[in-house]
Symmetry: C2
Subunit: 200 residues, 2 copies
């Protein structure tokens, strides 16, 4: 194989990214090396470097943010006694497109998955409980995990804990198709689901 | 939309890469920012930076290389009177896996495509003619462009020029399925094609 070592190395690194196979990694590497202008490569490198440097987790809701607390947590016009719990920052963005929801958020950073050995201590269950304990204002927790088995399991686990604290727990209602992935749902479906949320 | 600006920018840049749609760009960006260790991000950035810096076109065959002339052009054990013309560095690697071929190469950097306004001056036809003129030893040119209409058109165009210079021209023979892409062919198919190459 007469491939330059630096390209070989680049392919090895790129193919570790999610959803990128060996052929795609090769295609991207050759494209970057032989077709992209140096200026555009610099833009690519800098955009990654800058985002990685600037973006942190909000210490209140754990959303990705350049400011701490994030713009949502520090927005005084939002309703501060309702928290919507989501799996990931991408899910938070999907829910935040529904303008009718004006409450706060909490990003779990994953869902329970016994088969992958992901238990309660691997996601931010403890941080969430701590937040509820520190903030006596919370009157409702909306659980907006995916409508698949892991999301459902996580919702039930979390609901049990929150209910014991005397706080109302709801789950996104009708609208979400069974097995569906929140991140890919359209805004109307999410809106319907928020409107028709049901107590657990 | 409550997405950090630096992530937004990163998605914009990444989705311009070939074969990467907006959703994939978003997924990659969030993965890099929130899941990858800083060390691994540095490895990714450095591998791109180093490859882009180190890899140039060989000034003889225009293959991508860290040394000039490249390891193939400067390999004195190779047969120096046969040149295999390929479209891209990836195609060169596919052909170079066939150990039975011991000749030299030339990378055109594209194929003729009137619909995309790619004419002879947009690929390295002139450089190739110049190379043939400067090197009186060449007795055969093997054209190994893809077996699709653009590859065929390019082969015919190039064959006419080379034949007028009194040099034998062959084209990869049986083995390549019609409409097939060289980069994805297996080694045996390419070997058969080289063995059964036919004069044009």
């Amino acid at each position: 194989m007469n491939r330059p070592k630096t390209i070989e190395k680049m392919i090895e690194v790129i193919k570790k990214l999610p959803g990128i196979g060996p052929k795609m990694a090769e295609r991207l590497s050759y494209y970057i090396v032989s077709k992209m202008l140096q200026d555009d490569v610099n833009k690519l490198l800098n955009s990654i470097k800058e985002a990685k440097l600037a973006v942190k987790n909000c210490t209140v809701c754990y959303n990705l943010t350049e400011y701490n607390p994030c713009v949502i947590c520090s927005d005084s016009t939002r309703i501060r006694n309702v928290i919507c719990v989501v799996e990931s920052p991408q899910d938070l963005i999907a829910v935040s497109k529904v303008k009718e929801y004006k409450g706060l958020y909490f990003v779990l950073g994953g869902v329970l998955s016994p088969l992958d050995a992901i238990g309660p201590s691997d996601i931010r269950i403890d941080n969430f409980v701590k937040r509820l304990k520190n903030d006596n204002n919370i009157s409702e927790v909306i659980i907006a995990t995916d409508a698949d088995s892991k999301g459902e399991m996580t919702a039930i686990y979390l609901a049990n804990i929150v209910k014991k604290m005397g706080i109302k727990v709801t789950r996104l209602g009708c609208g979400l198709p069974v097995g569906g992935d929140i991140e890919y749902a359209d805004e109307r479906t999410i809106y319907n689901a928020i409107t028709a949320r049901k107590e657990m």
